[in-house]
């Protein structure tokens, strides 16, 4: 990269690409050509910057100028103003939501200030389709070090010492997992990268594969060396076409450079990686289901033990790790276990990537050291709640997790404290909710997801979650009673206690945690048939106040179902049995005569 004076980094993540970042890149390149600056200034399409809310992103190096929501039409101005005249395009700079100030250097933006990027270190920095850019950022140096200087046992010990735990949700110590696979004796072993990211809203694995595929390849090779596996498989969902394309390019380049294949780096170690596609079933993130899916069988879990480390893919010892877990590995070898374990809390080391979403100002992908508090994440990185509304809860752990409230805001985020609060780390989905969100509906939403994604193998998950969802539906329709709440609690307990795999064992968590933290809301739904947030439409009533109503008939005319009746110039009424609660009458009424009760 050294020969250019300036670099224009254009985000090539799936989100920004959907907003024509390809075209932005082409236009920037064309402008540079036309102005004769192609030798001085280079345009690079990188992986995701994480700040998806403000995409497409264009970042200018070396001055770190961070342009947001760029359109192809802005390309000319960026080149003419910023590159040629040295004047930043102010209107494209990020504006801090609280101070309203324009911030040009991304280092000073709240979104990035508290972040620490280990797994995402190269995302938004290098061209993921160019292995040389990755190598310039130390890709494969760790592999060289491991193959050249360490025995498999020594290398595994480093992973153990680092304290790294699985980032896919379970939090199982990675080094221990490697050791368990390593100690099995078999003619063939496998390492598998679980890229079947399925939590609603989570996309860190996709971003890593799109932005820095070589880190995963390198980590898998190290994993292969440590466990005695010569074959690696990446199980990736077919809905991630960009990640697949970039991974394929990366694999090809790694082979070309002798970093995959026979006798890697001349150290006598053979390792090859193949890709297996998933059809987008959430349950295939569970390692036994994933393995069955790779074998061409129905993607459904089987009882453990035997664990994959003993009997996995094709009945051979198999180590399965998630993408984000792998992305940490090369850094651990380059900077040392001690460096890594100094980051984070006592039992949770390193950083964690979260997909921050919901009613928050800065939506996007963030990476913070373990132990960062929820308050820091939501108010500093996330920039606080949208439209200055009141914070209500944050959901972590996706459909297996739970809700955390105001009282948990100063909880340090790590595996164990989240569980202690009734939630879990999960793969890193983090959805912020404000006063307008109904917690019963939120629980129902997650259950809808598990009902859809259950494989159907075991009865409590297949039928129990369906019944649980039906019970919640009754409540949100105003047909529930306290008896339903008791049934829900009982059923949640049985589903957790008797389900076959992690999916069913955790699916009631969103219900239980909202019940624990927002019991009053459930009671209001079943006793008063009221939803304070107004989210449960069946519990709302549109009522015309006779006094301010002048009988203009505007509401009756706009009502799509003819629910409003009344004489001209006389007060109107709404027939509740017909009303579909669309709200059209409220918008139409000029006299504020219609209210929601």
């Amino acid at each position: 990269m050294a020969k250019y004076k300036t670099h224009l980094l254009v985000c090539g993540g799936t989100g920004c690409k959907a907003s024509a970042s390809d075209v932005i890149k082409d236009k920037l390149t064309r402008e540079l050509d036309e102005k004769g600056l192609a030798d001085e200034c280079q345009v690079v399409m990188t992986g995701c910057f994480g700040f998806c809310e403000k995409g497409p992103i264009v970042k200018v190096l070396p001055d770190n100028t961070f342009y947001t929501q760029v359109t192809p039409d802005d390309a000319k101005e960026i080149i003419e103003e910023h590159i040629i005249k040295g004047r930043k395009v102010d209107r494209l700079l990020y504006k801090d939501p609280t101070s309203k100030e324009e911030i040009s250097d991304s280092k000073h933006m709240g979104f990035y200030k508290k972040q620490m990027r280990i797994a995402l270190r190269n995302c938004g920095f290098i061209d993921p389709e160019n292995i040389e850019e990755a190598i310039a950022r130390d890709a494969y140096a760790a592999l060289g070090k491991v193959l050249g200087e360490m025995t498999p046992v020594e290398a595994t010990q480093i992973v153990l010492d680092s304290g790294l735990r699985g980032r896919g949700g379970g939090g199982f110590p990675t080094g221990l997992k490697w050791k368990l696979t390593a100690q099995e004796k078999a003619d063939q072993k496998y390492v598998v990268c679980n890229a079947d990211e399925g939590d609603p809203g989570a996309f860190m694995d996709r971003s890593i594969l799109e932005g820095d595929p070589h880190t995963v390849i390198e980590a898998m090779a190290i994993n292969g060396y440590c466990t005695g596996a010569t074959k690696g498989l990446v199980y990736i969902r077919a809905e991630y076409p960009l990640a697949i394309t970039r991974l394929k390019i990366a694999l090809e380049q790694a082979r070309e450079y002798g970093l995959l294949g026979k006798d890697i780096l001349g150290k006598g170690f053979d390792f090859e990686i193949e890709i297996r596609y998933g059809a987008g079933a959430f349950v295939c993130g569970e390692e036994t289901a994933l393995i069955h899916s790779m074998e061409g069988e129905r993607g459904e879990p089987t009882f453990k033990p035997p664990f994959p480390s003993v009997e996995g893919y094709r009945k051979k010892p198999t180590n399965v790790n998630n993408v984000e877990t792998y992305a940490n590995i090369p850094v651990i070898f380059l900077k040392g276990a001690e460096w890594f374990s100094a980051i984070g809390t006592e039992k949770s080391k390193g950083t964690k990537v979260f997909a921050l979403a919901g009613k928050i100002n800065n939506v996007g992908l963030i990476e913070v050291p373990m132990g960062t508090t929820l308050r820091e994440v939501i108010y500093e990185i996330g920039g606080g709640i949208k439209d200055s509304k009141k914070f209500k809860a944050v959901q972590t752990g996706g459909p297996s997790g739970g809700c955390l409230t105001e009282k948990h805001l100063d909880t340090p985020i790590d595996y164990d404290s989240l569980i202690a609060c009734g939630s879990m780390m999960g793969s890193g989905g983090m959805i912020v909710m404000d006063e307008d969100d109904c917690m019963v509906s939120m629980a129902k939403f997650y259950l809808e997801f598990t009902v859809e994604e259950s494989c159907g193998k075991c009865a409590p998950c297949r039928i129990g979650n369906k019944r649980l969802h039906e019970q919640l539906e009754l409540i949100t329709q105003g047909k529930g009673s306290k008896e339903n709440l008791e049934k829900i609690r009982d059923l949640c307990g049985v589903i957790k206690d008797t389900s076959l795999c992690g999916l069913g064992q955790t699916s009631p968590n969103p219900v239980l945690s909202t019940m624990d933290n927002f019991w009053d809301e459930y009671i209001a739904h079943v006793e008063e048939h009221k939803c304070a947030s107004g989210a449960c439409k069946d519990l709302m009533k549109y009522i015309i106040d006779a006094e301010p109503c002048v009988g203009c008939t505007a509401c009756a005319r706009v009502c799509p179902v003819g629910a409003i009746a009344g004489e001209r110039k006389g007060p109107h009424t709404i027939d509740q049995s017909i009303c579909i609660k669309c709200g059209a009458c409220v918008d139409k009424c000029k006299f504020n005569a219609i209210s929601i009760k």
Binding site: A281, R298, E300, T302, F303, P305, V451, E452, E453, S454, C455, G456, K457, C458, A459, P460, R462, I463, G464, N465, K466, R467, E470, Q471, K487, D490, L491, V494, K496, D497, T498, S499, L500, Q505
Partner: protein
């Protein structure tokens, strides 16, 4: 062998390491209920998806309840199978299963023989606390089997039978979540799938999701029609199992009572499929010797080994899965069809009855027979040689419906001429029996010497694949035997690859042969039941005065009066068939 000691419900248990908690508990008299677990001892196949979650137990130190069918007993484990937590969970899970199950027990084919119904009774379910949406799948009617998936509880036993035991590959779990169900690929109908109608899925289904097509009403109607002469034939394996439906011990032979019952039901002629089994030996044995003779004479075109063809499930299997090998099996029709062809010609003439006024009913241990008798090639001008085939279970149903007290019936004989049979025909009902019967006749025909010892012990047994070499007076004949289509596939693949050294192979689709057929009283995977039925057949064989098919005087008379000789033109026309490539008929909608 390593053993572990553990405690189950305060009882000390010592079991081999690796034993499941379920089996460990059983060994000390603690029967943990389950709906999906099934262990087939003899074939070493176990269905334990851990799916029904009825067998959950509490294990000290574990967070969640453990499924006892797939949790291995470990040293010092403390297991409780009946705590409040376990009982509550077990009942809730059962209620959940029942909440998605039609409550039409009163009119369900499996009522009284349904494991789900029994479980609801056993666990004392009096109310279903969780009502909600129920599954609605379309019913699938095939010629042999009805699938009513609204009654499927996803135990996956059928899947294990279809895939692991039979390797037919028709049934698999499809769809997700609440919509998950076991069905052929793309939810196509059985009739368009690879299904062979072996009925092993029906035999293990705990509920009414898989049942046979019921033909009892058609038979009652035919019996009530004064214009019809109704003729019945009973397959060899039926007599060794029918008694179980009336509370008798497995292996009780009820040949005489069965004949008496059929007569009381109103059948005009009570005959025996054993008669046509003897006829099969004459045809198939002659065909074997013919092919063998040509082979020994150096004819390179002759196909060996010859494969038996009396099992319709097996015929469906090779027609659908090995259409390139249709010239290997014997062309002899099955005994059921030989019987029908002779009954509606030779016997019809004898009693001066027109074909269309005669109704031929077969009682079979088999569901594929229902399909077989409907095959177009086994009909003349649209009139089938065999009109209806009912299972052993359906016959028991008919007997009960007619208020016949089976257990007090006297022993009666079959009618003549088609009720006479030899011991060779009786053993058609068990694996190894057909080839033994063939060997008895072929030996004497080929060597022109009297067989010293009629019993070929080396051909008997329960192993899935067996082989033996029989000395035909200096000529060694290599015999292969397979039962269960998975085993048949192995032998067939050898033949396909040109690696087979057998001269003749006997194949029966069902494990154990017809004694384990899909139409037999349910044995719930208990192989001791099959062994008892097998012993009963060998006992009947031993007690028969004539034990070689070619010595059956009525068979001799049939050839003399009607057919001429084995493989004659008439015999070819009535007793032989040809096979079709049915692989191309498997349709994906």
């Amino acid at each position: 062998m390593e053993f572990v000691n553990l405690t189950i419900d305060n009882k000390s248990v010592k079991v081999e390491k690796g034993t499941s908690i379920l089996e460990a508990a059983r060994s000390v008299g603690v029967e943990i209920p389950t709906l999906c677990h099934m262990k087939l001892d003899d074939v070493n196949i176990e269905n334990k998806p851990g799916g029904c979650r009825i067998c959950v137990v509490e294990v000290d130190g574990r967070r969640n309840l453990a499924p006892s069918c797939c949790t291995k007993a470990d040293a010092d484990m403390v297991v409780k199978t009946n705590t409040m937590r376990v009982l509550n969970s077990r009942r809730t899970v059962l209620e959940l299963i029942l909440s998605d199950h039609p409550a039409d027990c009163l009119i369900c084919a499996k009522s009284g023989n349904c494991e789900l119904q029994d479980m609801a009774h056993k666990l004392g379910v009096r109310e279903i606390h969780f009502k909600g949406e129920q599954s609605t799948y379309k019913e699938d009617f095939s010629p042999s089997i009805i699938r009513d998936l609204n009654k499927c509880i996803m135990c996956r036993r059928c899947e294990t039978m279809c895939n692991e035991v039979q390797t037919v590959g028709t049934l698999h779990a499809v769809n997700r979540g609440f919509m998950a169900v076991v069905a052929p690929a793309f939810e196509m109908d059985l009739e368009k799938s690879t299904c062979t109608y072996c009925g092993q899925c029906v035999a293990v289904c705990p509920t009414g999701a898989l049942t046979e097509v019921d033909h009892t009403n058609e038979i009652v109607r035919a019996l009530a029609d004064p214009k019809k002469k109704v003729v019945v034939q009973t397959a060899p394996a039926v007599r060794a199992a029918l008694g179980e439906e009336f509370g008798l011990e497995p292996g009780t032979l009820v040949t005489g009572q069965m004949a008496a019952a059929l007569r009381r039901l109103g059948f005009d002629y009570v005959f025996d499929t054993d008669f046509s089994a003897d006829l099969t030996i004459m045809e198939e044995g002659t065909e074997l010797l013919g092919r063998l003779g040509k082979h020994l004479a150096g004819d390179k075109d002759v196909k060996l080994p010859i494969l038996t063809s009396c099992c319709p499930g097996w015929v469906n299997f090779f027609e659908k899965q090995f259409p390139d090998m249709l010239d290997i099996p014997s062309t002899a029709r099955s005994p059921q069809q030989m019987f029908g062809a002779i009954a509606k010609t030779y016997f019809a003439d004898k009693i001066e009855t027109k074909r269309e006024d005669m109704v031929v009913v077969s009682v079979m241990p088999c569901l594929a027979k229902k399909y077989e008798c409907q095959r177009e090639e086994f009909a003349t001008d649209g009139n089938p040689d065999v009109d209806y085939s009912i299972s052993t279970r359906e016959l028991a149903q008919l007997i009960q419906r007619a208020n016949i007290d089976f257990n007090t019936l006297p022993n009666e004989d079959f009618d003549h001429p088609m009720g006479e049979s030899t011991g060779a025909a009786v053993i058609f009902g068990t694996t190894g029996g057909v080839i033994e019967a063939a060997a008895r006749t072929a030996y004497e025909v080929h060597t022109k010497k009297k067989l010293e010892k009629v019993d070929f012990e080396e051909l008997r047994g329960m192993e899935g694949i067996r082989s033996a070499t029989i000395d035909f007076d200096g000529l060694p004949i290599n015999i292969g035997i397979a039962h269960g289509l998975g085993n048949a596939r192995k032998l067939l693949e050898d033949v396909q690859a040109g690696k087979s050294e057998f001269h003749a192979i006997e194949v029966m689709a069902c494990p154990g042969g017809c004694i384990g057929g899909g139409g037999q009283p349910l044995h719930h995977g208990d192989s001791s039941v099959l062994k008892a039925r097998q012993l009963a057949l060998y006992k009947e064989d031993k007690n028969k005065p004539i034990r070689k098919s070619h010595e059956n005087p009525y068979i001799a008379k049939l050839y003399e009066e009607f057919l001429g000789a084995p493989l004659s033109e008439k015999a070819h026309h009535l007793l032989h068939t040809h096979y079709f490539d049915k692989k191309k008929d498997i349709e994906i909608e």
